[in-house]
């Protein structure tokens, strides 16, 4: 992808007011691309805001315009599903800094050229400010629930902490209240892979000849990250040491093993749908995330003004945001006197379990949303 953000089929809101950022800057004319499902009731009280993960987008339950694949959470969102669009008005927006129609580094700066690395560094809270601005524009004072997995869960936490009057419930799945050293380390590998690609050109690759951005670097970043999304047992079960379309090792550096071929495919296909600079900015926002630090160092204080119900879910095979992180949040919420539920579900898929077939999660989501 080499020029401008990817074309979007979604509705796009242009903010009338400038968006003030944690970094001290202001962004004018911010665009937020979003999808909605189900009908908003007359009292405007049945909205559910779903926040997407690092490389997700607003197409939570509608086909992706580039890949043609079904929405990333169709198993959870739809008529009669745990997040029931027959009853709820579901809103999902592409986050600030991303590349599916919302303002990000691939968007046009005031000088008419793409922002590139001139785009201000943003935070999870800035993304949430964008979500709240969207709700303002849609005339929704308070959502029934804010829901998210992984980075979406971080946004849900930040939303409940920073805009306590705007949600009645927060459902936080496979997330954390702060990025650990290990989380930051894996992201740094990804960023360095992108920046080491000569096609990156200090982020100024939009509109270059052949239309090639730092695809190799972005693919490597995606490969490294992908490993963190699955469990060791999951990888072993899926691939073991099986060879890819061959009877014996080739004594070369071709993708002999199925797992190599799989990762290469994951990396390459990712570059068709994601902007490398967006990957830099969003991973940075995640690394900067520390909800306790934002609120004087004590996590419980982040929720002092919250009246929302909370539900936290972790997975026993998730080593990216392990159960201990969710438990920490649960105890902080308890100390703050917030109604909170927390459970660790058993699922074989590692961090990605929140996106996959875990029937226990369906029951919890449906039950918690009521």
């Amino acid at each position: 992808m080499a020029s401008a953000p990817f074309l979007t089929t979604s509705r796009v809101l242009t903010l009338a007011q400038p968006l003030a950022l944690d970094g001290g800057q202001q962004l004018d004319g911010v665009r937020i691309a979003y999808e909605t499902y189900g009908t908003l009731n007359a009292e405007r009280t049945n909205a559910i805001l779903i926040c997407h993960a690092l490389t997700g987008d607003q197409h939570v339950a509608s086909p992706h315009p580039i890949t043609g694949k079904p929405g990333w959470w169709v198993r959870m969102v739809g008529p009669g599903k745990p997040i029931d669009t027959d009853r709820y008005h579901v809103i999902c927006a592409n986050v600030l800094g991303s590349c599916m129609g919302s303002t990000g580094p691939a968007s046009e700066a005031p000088d008419g050229k793409p922002w590139g690395m001139r785009f201000p560094v943003i935070t999870i809270r800035d993304m949430v400010r964008g979500q709240v601005a969207l709700l303002d524009a849609l005339g929704i004072a308070r959502v029934h629930a804010v829901v998210g997995g992984s980075m979406g869960g971080m946004q849900a936490l930040s939303f409940a902490a920073n805009f306590p009057d705007r949600c009645a419930a927060a459902l936080v799945i496979a997330a954390t209240a702060r990025h650990s050293a290990q989380n930051i380390a894996f992201h740094e590998v990804g960023r360095q892979a992108i920046m080491a690609d000569p096609q990156w050109r200090d982020g100024d690759y939009y509109g270059t000849k052949g239309g090639k951005g730092p695809e190799k670097g972005l693919a490597v970043a995606r490969m490294a990250a992908h490993i963190t999304y699955i469990s060791e047992a999951g990888l072993t079960e899926k691939f073991g040491r099986n060879l890819q379309d061959r009877e014996a090792k080739t004594f070369g550096f071709d993708a002999d093993f199925q797992v190599e071929s799989y990762l290469r495919y994951q990396g390459l296909s990712f570059t068709d749908r994601f902007d490398a600079n967006s990957y830099l900015y969003i991973t940075r926002a995640m690394d900067y995330f520390d909800l306790a630090e934002e609120h004087g160092g004590r996590l419980a204080d982040a929720f002092a003004k919250s009246s929302a119900r909370f539900c936290l879910v972790s997975f026993d095979t998730d080593w990216l945001y392990p159960t201990a992180e969710s438990r920490l949040i649960a105890h902080a919420l308890n100390a703050a006197g917030c109604p909170v539920s927390f459970m660790e579900l058993s699922a074989p898929f590692g961090h990605d379990s929140f996106l996959l077939d875990v029937p226990a999660l369906d029951r919890v989501v449906a039950g918690f949303l009521g």
């Binding site: 539900c311 105890h331 100390a335 109604p339 539920s341 459970m343 579900l345 919890v364 039950g367 918690f368």
Partner: protein
């Protein structure tokens, strides 16, 4: 008594006043929490078994997956009106420490447990020479979660030793209440309201 509830839970549900905050440690599938919530209490639960936690959340209850032996430490002092431990004391690794924690976290504690000195249990040991398998202790010795059996007399002695005050006590034989006289022989089940 509250209809439909397990008898010890019915006593607890009847005794806790509306509006009180309650932490039910080892809340199972949320039977007591649901009754207390319906009564207008701020009722929260802690439960070890994730299936039970999921069941509670699906019922709209606030329950944290946690371990009575370790996770009460995360609650501030006197942050709850009633800390409840029903049929769970005998399953903990250190019942004495759990009891201390209950009375630190809660202004009052309510503890219920099966009485190991009930005459059926005594008979089983005396005549059969076997660990009892009864209605309240239905699981064989090798797979029972009850690792610290106790009697009403044991419990009273322990409370005295630790300076814990008994505000009220209820004794149960089957679904019916029985008197405090000879409770250690006649009661299958005891419920204590404690403070410090």
């Amino acid at each position: 008594m509250s209809a439909g509830l397990r008898p010890d839970l019915a006593i607890i549900a009847d005794h806790v006043p509306a509006g009180a905050s309650v932490l039910d440690v080892g809340c199972g599938d949320g039977e007591l929490l649901a009754a207390l919530t319906a009564k207008g209490c701020d009722a929260r639960g802690m439960e070890l078994d994730p299936h039970n936690v999921a069941e509670c959340v699906a019922r709209g209850l606030s329950v944290i997956q946690g371990d009575a032996d370790t996770d009460l430490a995360f609650y501030p002092d006197k942050s709850i009106d009633y800390a409840v431990l029903s049929q769970t004391l005998q399953t903990t690794k250190r019942p004495d420490l759990v009891l201390d924690e209950l009375l630190r976290v809660g202004r009052k504690a309510i503890v219920s447990f099966p009485n190991f000195a009930h005459w059926r249990v005594r008979l089983s040991l005396l005549w059969g020479g076997r660990m009892p398998v009864t209605r309240l202790l239905p699981v064989a010795w090798y797979e029972t979660p009850n690792i610290h059996h106790l009697t009403i007399a044991d419990f009273r002695a322990h409370l005295k030793e630790r300076g814990i005050r008994v505000e009220q006590a209820w004794f149960l034989k089957g679904d019916r209440r029985t008197g405090a006289a000879a409770a250690n022989f006649r009661a299958e089940h005891a419920v204590f309201l404690l403070s410090r």
